[in-house]
């Protein structure tokens, strides 16, 4: 049987549009030193390094080898994982298995991206198959626009409903010193912002950020010696099932999330996730995801998410706060984004989330999105699992 594993320390840079003062591995080093300080450990205590980003955003081959100075990986085991937008949560899941296996006792996991260094759309374009869908599916936004239209057609949701999601997250981000965008926006602001790909407007979408995030995992043998309140991993499930965009039949549902959450709730014996969860950090690349995916997580029926949002259920003082950090519409260094979701959940469980703290967090969920409509889910808890 495997070991139980917990996050015992986290560190993030202060995410922003462009960091001129540091190169990529120097950016990484900031997050790493903050995580070590948070856990009160030194690099000597670390048994290995897991790192990831999306290669074409910085055009550096073998990033695990290139970044040694910044990761502290000199003469340690170093391995790279990468799965597009889901990279951050993929890293969290990978690190979990590597510690649970008994191969590492204290493991450093790093996600980072310097999105300022490249043209995001140009880089994402090569994800598509050169023969099948590259000519048609340019970049990320057009695909998401299809989702929004289909969802509105099928369930009667409106652009105003989506805007309310953004308003919530941008308000929450004001409490997060690491967030990139820290200004509130109103529903009108969102609905009047530049149209990108109908119906998606600028303020419905996430920014591109430069940023890094590091977490430290420890096995059950040492986790409680390092921190009084470890954030225990309860379960990790994902689906990266679809691989070309022409395969999606109904854009109003994220099938990978439906499948993955069904498996996760079944594994953990969760019957009523809306009631049982205390906080969710949703990888929300655009506002409509904050409607559609509440349903696809099994928190309510299809078409009912808008009501939940307007009732304030997902606000900071609601029954199930979503995105206290401001999530992706406030901050998006792609290779780090999924890992930041996990780091933010860890902070919530540890009671270290400062002005964005949700009281009494015992069971929480971090999600990841990316690639071709993929979903990663990682559930955390305050008590060591059985």
């Amino acid at each position: 049987m495997g070991k139980r594993v917990a996050i015992v320390g986290t560190g993030q840079t202060n995410h922003c549009s462009i960091r001129r003062d540091v190169n990529g591995q120097e950016l990484i080093r900031e997050a790493v030193t903050r995580a070590l300080a948070d856990a009160e450990l030194t690099i000597k205590d670390i048994d290995g390094v897991v790192i990831g980003n999306m290669d074409h955003f910085e055009s550096i081959n073998y990033v695990d080898c290139w970044s040694i100075d910044g990761t502290g990986g000199y003469m340690k085991p170093v391995i790279k994982l990468t799965t597009g937008g889901t990279t951050g949560t993929t890293l969290a899941i990978g690190g979990y298995h590597m510690v649970a296996s008994g191969m590492f006792e204290k493991l450093l996991v790093i996600g980072w991206e310097k999105n300022s260094e490249s043209d995001t759309t140009g880089a994402i374009n090569t994800a598509t198959d050169p023969f099948i869908d590259r000519a048609v599916f340019g970049g990320a936004v057009s695909g998401l626009a299809l989702d929004a239209h289909k969802y509105m057609d099928k369930y009667g949701a409106t652009v105003k409903d989506a805007a309310r999601v953004t308003v919530r997250d941008r308000k929450n981000a004001c409490n997060n010193p690491h967030a990139h965008l820290r200004e509130e926006v109103s529903i009108e602001d969102v609905m009047q912002s530049d149209l990108l790909s109908d119906p998606i407007r600028l303020l419905d979408m996430c920014p591109r950020s430069d940023g890094a995030c590091a977490i430290i995992y420890a096995s059950e043998d040492v986790a409680e010696k390092i921190t009084p309140q470890p954030a225990w991993v309860l379960g990790a499930v994902n689906r990266h099932s679809v691989n070309d965009f022409t395969e999606i039949t109904d854009n109003s549902t994220l099938d990978s999330m439906v499948e993955a959450s069904a498996e996760l709730w079944q594994k953990l014996g969760v019957k009523e996730p809306l009631k049982e969860l205390d906080v969710v950090e949703l990888y929300q690349p655009f506002s409509w995801a904050g409607l559609i995916w509440i349903e696809d997580l099994g928190l309510c029926k299809k078409g009912e998410a808008a009501q939940l949002i307007w009732d304030g259920v997902t606000d900071m003082d609601g029954e199930l706060p979503f995105n206290p950090s401001g999530s992706v519409c406030a901050t998006n260094p792609i290779g780090a984004t999924g890992l930041i979701r996990c780091a933010e959940i860890a902070l919530q469980i540890q009671g270290k989330a400062g002005a964005r703290q949700v009281p009494d967090v015992n069971f929480a969920l971090a999600t990841g999105f990316g690639g071709c409509y993929w979903t990663d889910l990682v559930a955390f808890g305050s008590k060591k699992p059985e």
């Binding site: 462009i18 960091r19 001129r20 003062d21 540091v22 190169n23 120097e26 080093r29 690099i43 074409h56 910085e58 055009s59 040694i68 100075d69 910044g70 502290g72 000199y74 310097k114 300022s116 260094e117 490249s118 043209d119 140009g122 880089a123 090569t126 050169p130 023969f131």
Partner: protein, 155 residues
């Protein structure tokens, strides 16, 4: 062997490339290093306060000790060849035509090797242990190629 099907079907090939423009931030430390190459024709390293190594090119932290470097230390424009290779063929990425050499050079005052291009009239004369010096480019722009190449030190 893999061509059996091409008797009745055309083998389609898509010629393309990754078309993504990049703008890498050198960051404060590398910027200072490169500006010194461009404006002062000087090569700088930084010292690690823990192991005391002078790391060249200058960098913000010491990878061996995982601490921030402290003092800027100027190193000489010349040093000793640690290893080399004579490149005999051209590639799309080499900035000069073959034959030419690459070398790892331990500049006087540095504790880490500096990789660069080495040009000799007769490349076969290169030896480990040879003393070489930097030749500066006419048009410098804040790049590692502000040093055009290294040549043997006479005598």
């Amino acid at each position: 062997m893999g061509d059996y099907w091409t008797t009745d079907t055309e083998s389609i090939v898509l010629n393309s490339g990754i078309k993504v423009p990049y703008a890498w931030q050198a960051g404060e430390t590398a910027s200072r290093f490169l500006v010194q190459l461009r404006d002062e024709k000087k090569i700088w390293g930084k010292r690690c306060p823990k192991c005391q190594k002078v790391l060249v090119p200058a960098r913000k932290s010491c990878g061996f000790c995982f601490v921030e470097t402290s003092d800027w230390v100027a190193v000489a424009n010349q040093g000793v060849v640690q290893t080399y290779t004579v490149v005999a063929r051209d590639t799309p990425v080499q900035p000069v035509k073959a034959p030419f050499a690459y070398a790892v050079i331990l500049l006087d005052g540095a504790d880490t090797g500096f990789v660069h291009i080495l040009q000799l009239e007769d490349p076969q004369k290169i030896k480990t242990g040879m003393r070489v010096q930097a030749v500066w480019a006419e048009n410098r722009k804040g790049s590692i190629l502000d040093i055009s190449h290294f040549i043997p030190v006479e005598g």
